[in-house]
């Protein structure tokens, strides 16, 4: 099985699910997704300077009637903790997060030292009670639907973790 998700397939699924805006701070792994969605007329792409900003912008978009997706790296998620708490969990704003899992690929390859962001990511999401799915290949794309449905059902943030670079 080919690892990594096709950027085109992911972008198509994002559109199919009715997302209107993608708030993204690209990293090395999501660079191709960023380029793909930036070329699409169906999505508005907003690139803030830090992830906490992005969370707050997405919260404003949703409150105003849009359906944003936030794409960020796990390291940025750690920076954005206060925004996620304040603009997502507390006010029950159903933010959908697509999180690049820095350190995953290296850990799978047995590289040392293990990136400290890798083991902290899932426990951090669990501590916030954020339901999380793994999006590791095109065969997993339905987890984006599951994440979307759960956010709508609970009116709370949900997430998918992407372990490999988009291709």
């Amino acid at each position: 099985m080919t690892v990594g998700v096709s950027a085109v397939a992911a972008a198509d699924r994002i559109v199919l699910l009715g997302f209107t805006d993608v708030v993204i701070i690209p990293d090395s792994e999501s660079a191709l997704l960023f380029a793909t969605i930036s070329a699409m007329d169906e999505l508005r792409v907003i690139s803030p300077t830090r992830e906490g900003e992005g969370i707050a912008i997405a919260a404003g978009l949703w409150t105003g009637g849009r359906k944003p997706l936030v794409v960020l790296q796990n390291t940025g998620l750690m920076e954005a903790g206060d925004a996620l708490r304040g603009c997502g969990i507390g006010p029950r704003i159903p933010l959908r997060l697509m999180i690049g899992w820095r350190g995953f690929a290296g850990a799978q390859a047995g590289r040392v030292p293990i990136d400290s962001a890798y083991p902290a990511t899932e426990p951090l999401l669990a501590a916030w009670n954020i339901p999380t799915w793994h999006l590791m290949s095109d065969a997993d794309l339905d987890v984006v639907d599951a994440m979307d449905d759960e956010a709508m059902r609970t009116s709370l943030p949900t997430a998918v973790l992407t372990g490999w670079a988009f291709r």
């Binding site: 803030p48 900003e53 925004a83 304040g86």
Partner: protein, 193 residues
């Protein structure tokens, strides 16, 4: 220097159908001059991010303006938001920085003294920036300037970033810890969502 409550009252008088997002001490005084369902208390929603939230709202609601009352301590927590405003700020967004040079909400601790917020906004590209290339940056130091400025920016395309030099001599009411989810639900209902 402008008496903050006088500035807020002037804005409430001129305001029509705008969404108003406020944070920190403005959340204590804005309710004294306005009870609109389009008012949104951002207190405790994420430190430094009121204008980011307002930017999202303004993009989502292009047919009405969004006004954000923001503190200078909060801006220091999110200086990058100025660059985001310059890049993605829509024409219907107004950010008014209540510059009092202190962390007033936490006891009046001083801010770094040499920061020039107006210059920072200009250097970030807000003037002439935003999605329409119509961004403005200005400073209000008197209530007369503020009244003129408010009248203008409530009709002219932005995004507008204003540094309002304020002081406060009015007693502040205690913080109202209202339900966060209800604040969102109420604003969405007022927007017909």
């Amino acid at each position: 220097m402008i008496e903050r409550l006088e500035l807020l009252a002037a804005a409430a008088e001129l305001r029509t159908n705008e969404i108003v997002v406020m944070t920190m001490t403005a959340t204590l005084q804005w309710p004294q001059v306005s009870t609109s369902p389009l008012d949104f208390d951002f207190l405790a929603f994420g430190m430094g991010h009121a204008s980011n939230f307002g930017l999202g709202l303004a993009l989502a609601q292009p047919d009405r303006r969004t006004i954000v009352w923001k503190g200078d301590g909060g801006l220091l927590m999110s200086l990058g938001s100025l660059a985001t405003l310059a890049q993605h700020g829509p024409e219907n967004l107004i950010v008014i920085l209540l510059e009092n040079r202190t962390y007033e909400m936490t006891g009046g601790q001083p801010l770094p003294t040499r920061v020039d917020f107006e210059a920072l906004a200009r250097a970030a590209g807000v003037e002439g920036g935003g999605t329409g290339g119509t961004g403005t940056v200005e400073r209000w130091s008197t209530i007369v300037e503020a009244r003129h400025g408010l009248t203008r920016i409530l009709v002219e395309p932005g995004p507008h970033f204003v540094v309002a030099s304020v002081t406060n001599s009015a007693p502040l009411p205690p913080v109202a810890h209202s339900d966060h989810a209800a604040r969102v639900t109420n604003l969405r209902a007022a927007l017909g969502l």
